[in-house]
Symmetry: C2
Subunit: 194 residues, 2 copies
């Protein structure tokens, strides 16, 4: 969709689908910053006084989106006051999300971080099924690892162990949370291991 460091030519409104926003380190490792859901703005570098995109955006599944050239941003902000105000509220909540991530990475074990990540995805994009709440796009162990700063191996082990205990069900690029409440207990408390 767009690439890190690239000239910020446009900004977008996601109508349908899911987009993964990633940052790539100089040595090639990728970190997932966030997932964008339908209805959200993206590529709003202009609003923050930037001229290049700070991250890359990749469609997690097929998407439908609107795009405007970046130079229209000031016009929009002037013409629709609510547009501007709303944007800054969005930016504020992203800043908060980022800080939450920092706190989590600083204080929590890997299993708690993975649990939190799953719960966030479920809350954001969950679709109810007869087995539980499913994350509504294909997501691999590798993807989850890039969200939580761990490896796909560790994620795989955690999901396997949670599946044994009936907390989740998972398959190829697919995760369903069966018991959100018990998963939350695991995410918050430092009580029961694995």
């Amino acid at each position: 969709m767009f690439e890190q460091e690239q000239e910020a030519h446009s900004f977008f409104l996601l109508l349908d689908g899911h987009v993964r926003v990633i940052k790539t380190t100089p040595d090639g490792q990728e970190v997932t910053v966030r997932y964008i859901s339908p209805g959200e703005l993206m590529g709003i570098a202009h609003a923050l006084g930037r001229t290049t995109y700070p991250a890359s955006a990749i469609a997690a599944i097929d998407c439908v989106l609107l795009a405007w050239p970046g130079h229209l941003w000031p016009k929009f902000a002037n013409a629709f006051p609510n547009f501007g105000a709303n944007t800054y509220k969005t930016v504020g909540s992203r800043l908060q999300d980022a800080h939450t991530r920092v706190v989590e990475m600083s204080t929590e074990q890997v299993d708690q971080r993975v649990a939190h990540a799953l719960l966030k995805l479920v809350k954001q994009t969950g679709r109810k099924t007869d087995e539980g709440i499913m994350i509504d796009f294909p997501i691999s162990r590798q993807d989850i690892a890039e969200m939580t700063g761990t490896t796909l191996h560790t994620v795989s082990r955690l999901l396997s162990s949670w599946e044994e205990k009936g907390l989740v069900k998972s398959g190829r690029e697919k995760v369903t949370v069966v018991e959100p409440h018990r998963l939350l207990v695991l995410a918050e408390g430092r009580t029961g291991k694995n």
Copy 2:
């Protein structure tokens, strides 16, 4: 100065001194989000559509600051267009900082994170001395640990080993970077250990 979750009654402009912004987890661990330097705004919850402070602010040394009641924010933004624009640029750069932190926490070892933290502090608040560049306020091993998601013990070991190699000089609540360039190499590369 103000406390996390507290009603955001005021916003501030720091004139002199240094302020530590921290978040506290439910179980009492503290994570340092950032340090504020003279000339920066703080407590700008209002600009982001919040009514409570998202973090706590504590003076790292004696400070001088201006405070305005929060309800004046909209007035300021209207009266001085540059004021608003500048604020959002500030918020944008903080968002970027936070994302950088997330990437660092996800991909780097502890020694790299500590090196990056020292370099950032030196760049932000450094004062030139005849031995190198000193961080311009009292900062303990514990403080550095809270910035980097590690323990004071590990920070102590790292500083000791760096002092042996002539990269830094440190004392009680005091750190001086002697060779910023070599420290940067250590922060970036994954070559030489300890």
